[in-house]
């Protein structure tokens, strides 16, 4: 029995254990110096910041990696411990989404591929060296030449230098470089823009600049093209009093509930709606640009009633919409996502483009010049083509780099089987996935945080990848692999760095390159070009215009989720720990059904149903979801794989919903980890407008105000701009070493998140999100009940929890009206090597200890330390908690409430500020800014 346990038993058997106060650490430990200290000035208390680029989705946000020096397994070394957005980055402006925050979980993923492997005849994996890799590939290539097969190279969205290198490589070895593989290729939008404007690109949507946003299906705040950017823009747009946002969708999405007017439209009927809009605008001559008569005539005309009847939109809504649209200065219409991912998606996209055109398109709102970098992303036409060729045994050596078609393509496309037909498939990936598992050879790629590289998120913006940590395994970057193949030599690595630098220097010159390395990005000028419409093409397209037969059937919708994206992020445990904002389900797959369906089939949450589609079938537990229209059943990409996929033969857009599905109860019941106890706020005084009559309860608390010296830390959270994206929660997890507890604990209701997003459904039409964390009350109910002073109030207005003083009575948690306190039921530890990401500035709590939000006290401490060095007080903006830092909409403002000029103070004393559960007299330091009235009149 080791000393610790000994004392533990002792503690209960005899009071003499009082002799010992510390029984918790290992008996004796080592301190390991460096052999050679690192060149960077980095030591405990001074982390290093490396600017690089996020690769969790094609948006490529700017990243700032916090690197700490710490001792890990008796190795003193540098480890990335936190990801943050680059403050002034043109895409994410310092913000970062939950997926971005979870990037570290990929870097330290237990399933990282550690060394190159190849299959032998029996199909067992053999570990080989890189030189063997090179030779092996070489002679595979020999073979295929003899066989006369074509070698192909498939990779995910790539651009920048590496793209050039690939092309070079493909030329040298006679590879055919296939268009990049992205599940969400937005093919219809590209196609439509090509039809209408001769530009096969996805433009930048400048939401900030518009005063009227009409979005059809595009989940702009979640996954659509560049969510974080859109979210930021959205928060700016909100500041404009006249900004209006109509969102039309056949299902319910996080984006939808943010719109001022969320309008449910029958699937596939957007086209009717759009034609109605165009025609009406012309009839009422609100158009800014004219169209030739014959073209106009080729667009079908619908009466108000018809439209309403066909689309399921209320007439008054339509009229209101038209009214506001025609009044708008420079409106912006975005159709995408689910509205373009169906049989009439292309028409929708084209009409959208047309509508945008006649409403006067400007590069202010729709920017084709700095177009998104989607040109070499392929469509499902290409995929289908590839599959076909695989079937024909035409493919020889097959490189699959950083992409997981096997995991993402519809089940009934049998990619795996077909992949086997390639004579030699080589998977390049950082983590194991379905595809690489099926390959003949696996080459471990270094994670982007371990490697050099560059990217081009959109035309005119270049950002860099810099290594923030030595490669942890025997892995290489794609560039290095290609180069070593080119030079037929694997010995010396970091070829690619030089290659990259030459390339960058040649492209941008010395100074810009160094700027690029310093800031993480640079902007370059892009030639302006006048946007012109190709009337004839449009006419040709519209001539044989197909009017959809909208018939309502039981529908299965596959929507991408803010947590899973196209499924690539679902194996990051953090993103499973954090609940889905709308249903608050954390782990596992589920099928969201409408209230109507639930009552019709008498389903309770967790009842299992069988979903039958032609011959494909799967079983899923259901969750009743408010606001979900009848007949629409929702599942998320990633958590559930697309069962049967059909696509648009013209554009190659994948269809997101499957018609005529059959649901049948299996009778089984699956416990769903639903974290929310109730979606109904019950007038508890947590939401703003409910709160107003809370003030009636007069009478004042007894105790005198306690004075604060210099600081009183406080927060203002703008519910106006909070979109419930959970980025704050993710950031908090990583920053504060919050334990990840898993499904079993969640089922018991033991989640550990310090900040959580509470969704509340308002009279069945809107959902409002309230980020809830420790409110750091002045009269905190949790403090006086603690017998050992573990919870107390410090002079700076923080409600402090002294972890190693806590004996775990849990009274504080019971007595906290916000239930913001979390108890460590077990010793939860991240498994190796994930534990490399622990933040050394804050403790890892043992079992039996209560923990909670500390306003990131470690950051406050650091700032005060710094301030003290040049003896002054901490200034505004010096301390930014992780949540506030990462919030894409900057909804959270942190500051010193003692300082009258601080932003936080001003907001806290603005007329729309209120405190949650104010009537309990707890005097929270967190102030919520209520939504403005007119949003409720709508």
């Amino acid at each position: 029995m080791d000393r610790r346990n000994f004392l533990k038993i002792l503690g209960i058997t005899s009071s003499t254990a009082m002799l010992s106060s510390c029984g918790v650490d290992k008996a004796n430990e080592k301190i390991i110096p460096y052999v050679i200290p690192p060149d960077e000035e980095v030591y405990p208390g001074k982390p290093l910041y490396v600017s690089t680029t996020c690769t969790e989705c094609p948006a490529n946000c700017g990243l700032q990696v916090k690197v700490n020096e710490k001792l890990y397994h008796e190795q003193r070394s540098l480890y990335p411990t936190k990801l943050e957005g680059i403050p002034n980055h043109p895409i994410n402006r310092g913000g970062l989404c939950a997926r971005g925050q979870a990037g570290l979980f990929r870097l330290y993923h237990p399933e990282r591929i550690k060394r190159p492997m190849v299959r032998d005849e029996q199909g067992n994996w053999l570990i080989i060296t890189w030189s063997e890799v090179v030779t092996r590939i070489q002679d595979e290539l020999q073979k295929t030449r003899r066989l006369g097969k074509i070698n192909t190279y498939l990779s995910n969205h790539t651009n920048g230098t590496i793209s050039q290198l690939k092309n070079q490589f493909c030329q040298e070895y006679g590879f055919e470089r296939l268009p990049d593989f992205e599940l969400f290729s937005h093919a219809n939008i590209k196609k439509a823009n090509q039809l209408v404007f001769n530009k096969q690109v996805i433009p930048q949507y400048r939401i900030a600049k518009t005063d009227f946003l009409l979005s059809l299906g595009a989940d702009i705040l979640e996954t659509f093209v560049s969510p974080v950017e859109h979210t930021y823009h959205f928060s700016i747009a909100k500041k404009n009093q006249h900004f209006r946002w109509y969102h039309l969708e056949p299902h319910v999405s996080l984006t939808g509930v943010q719109a001022d007017h969320r309008i449910v439209i029958y699937p596939e009927s957007e086209i009717i709606f759009l034609s109605y809009l165009i025609q009406t605008l012309f009839r009422e001559s609100h158009q800014k640009r004219n169209l030739p008569f014959k073209l106009l005539r080729s667009i079908p005309t619908y009466s108000l009633e018809e439209t309403a009847q066909q689309t399921g939109i209320y007439q008054q809504d339509l009229q209101k919409l038209v009214g506001e649209l025609s009044k708008a200065e420079n409106p912006l219409i975005i159709s995408g996502g689910i509205s373009t991912a169906h049989a009439y998606g292309l028409e929708v996209a084209v009409l959208t483009a047309l509508l945008q055109w006649i409403l006067g398109i400007t590069s202010e709102v729709v920017n084709f010049i700095n177009a998104r970098n989607y040109e070499n992303i392929g469509t499902f036409l290409d995929i289908n083509n590839l599959l076909h060729r695989l079937d024909q045994n035409e493919i020889g050596v097959f490189f699959l780099s950083k992409c997981d078609p096997a995991g993402q393509l519809p089940v009934d496309w049998q990619f795996l089987e077909k992949l086997k037909k390639a004579s030699f498939s080589i998977g390049l990936a950082d983590c194991l996935n379905a595809t690489v598992r099926a390959c003949n050879m696996i080459l471990p790629l270094s994670h982007t945080l371990e490697s050099w590289g560059d990217a081009q998120p959109f035309d005119g913006l270049h950002s860099i990848f810099q290594p923030a940590i030595e490669p942890q395994y025997d892995s290489k970057t794609e560039g290095d692999i290609l180069l070593s193949l080119l030079n037929n030599n694997s010995e010396f690595s970091l070829y690619y760095k030089d290659y990259l630098f030459n390339n960058l220097k040649s492209r941008f010159g010395e100074t810009n390159t160094s700027k690029l390395l310093q800031n993480g990005f640079i902007r370059t000028a892009v030639p302006e070009s006048e946007l012109s419409i190709n009337l004839n093409q449009v006419y040709q397209f519209l001539k044989n215009f197909r009017i959809p037969q909208v018939k309502r059937t039981e529908l299965l919708v596959f929507a991408p989720s803010i947590r899973g994206y196209d499924g690539r992020s679902t194996d990051l445990v953090l993103l499973n720990e954090i609940p889905d904002p709308l249903t608050t389900i954390s782990y596992g797959a589920w099928l969201s059904v409408s209230e109507e369906t639930a009552t019709r089939m008498s389903l309770k949450d967790g009842d299992e149903v069988e979903v039958r589609i032609a011959d494909e079938r799967t079983k899923l537990p259901v969750k009743k979801q408010k606001l979900l229209p009848e007949n629409v059943n929702l599942v998320q990409y990633g958590v559930v794989r697309l069962l049967s996929g059909s696509y648009d033969k013209r554009s190659g857009e994948l269809f997101w919903f499957i018609k005529d599905i059959i649901l049948s109860k299996t009778g089984n019941h699956v416990k769903l980890p639903v974290l929310s106890g109730s979606m109904d706020e019950n007038g508890r005084g947590i939401l703003p407008h409910v709160n107003e009559h809370a003030h009636e309860k007069e009478g004042k608390p007894w105790y005198p105000e306690h004075e604060h010296e210099n600081y009183r830390w406080g927060m203002a959270i703008d519910l106006e701009s909070c979109i419930g994206c959970n980025a704050c929660s993710a950031a908090c997890y990583v920053e504060n070493n919050i334990p990840i507890v898993g499904r079993k604990e969640h089922l018991l209701g033991r989640e550990m998140s310090w900040i959580r997003i509470q969704p509340y459904v308002q009279d069945n039409e809107s959902i409002e999100f309230v980020p809830m964390m420790c409110q750091h009350c002045d009269n905190a109910p949790c403090e006086p009940v603690c017998p050992v002073y573990a919870a107390y109030h410090n002079p700076e207005g923080l409600n402090v929890q002294v972890y190693n003083r806590c004996v775990g009575t849990r009274y504080c948690a019971n007595n906290c009206p916000y239930k913001a306190r979390r108890f460590n039921w077990f010793d939860h530890r991240l498994p190796e090597p994930l534990d490399k990401m622990y933040n050394p500035d804050i403790s890892i709590r043992d079992r039996g200890i209560m923990e909670k939000c500390t306003f990131c006290i470690q950051r406050i401490r650091a700032a005060k330390d710094k301030a003290k060095d040049d003896n002054r007080l901490v200034q505004e903006g010096e301390v930014i908690p992780a949540c506030a830092q990462t919030c894409p909409t900057k909804a959270i403002t942190f500051g010193n409430l003692e300082d009258k000029n601080s932003k936080a103070y001003k907001l806290a004393h603005s007329e729309q500020a209120y405190r949650a559960l104010e009537e309990l007299g707890t005097k929270p330091a967190v102030n919520y800014l209520g939504k403005k009235r007119e949003h409720y009149e709508a």
């Binding site: 005198p704 009350c777 002045d778 109910p781 403090e783 006086p784 603690c786 002073y789 109030h793």
Partner: protein, 145 residues
């Protein structure tokens, strides 16, 4: 040499006792042994009320005082704000003070009792005196008590 009277019945015993007092035997010389407390004896022998109450009183007061002083001092020794309540929160300390009053009062009166009645008496532990259920009167030659 002390002489002893044993009785089986209480009333006989009491009569004898009264007679003895009448006969002018100093009550100081008399020791009685009874199977259970007999209050009449005290009246007959005119014994003063037991001084035990002073122990009790002192104990209780000490407890009360200590209770308040200790809590107040300890809170002021390291003043820590909790829930905005005043550092010296008397309404809360009353409870501690009360409990300590009872504790001290009780314990000290017990100790007082042991002192007053000279217990534990080790010699008697060795070889106990037994009188069964009888009522016994002993008359000492010398003065005891």
């Amino acid at each position: 040499m002390k002489n002893q009277y044993r009785f089986d019945e209480k009333h006989q015993f009491l009569e004898k006792l009264e007679n003895l007092i009448k006969d002018g035997v100093s009550s100081k010389k008399i020791i009685t042994y009874t199977p259970y407390p007999v209050h009449e004896v005290e009246h007959i022998l005119k014994v003063k009320a037991s001084p035990l109450r002073f122990f009790t009183l002192i104990g209780a007061l000490a407890g009360l005082l200590f209770g308040f002083l200790f809590t107040i001092w300890a809170s002021l020794d390291w003043p820590i704000i909790r829930g905005g309540k005043p550092i010296v929160a008397l309404p809360a300390f009353i409870i501690i003070a009360f409990e300590l009053t009872v504790l001290f009062g009780g314990v000290i009166s017990f100790i007082g009792y042991l002192l007053l009645s000279r217990l534990p008496d080790f010699s008697k532990i060795q070889n106990p005196e037994e009188y069964g259920n009888q009522f016994v009167i002993q008359i000492q030659d010398g003065e005891t008590r």
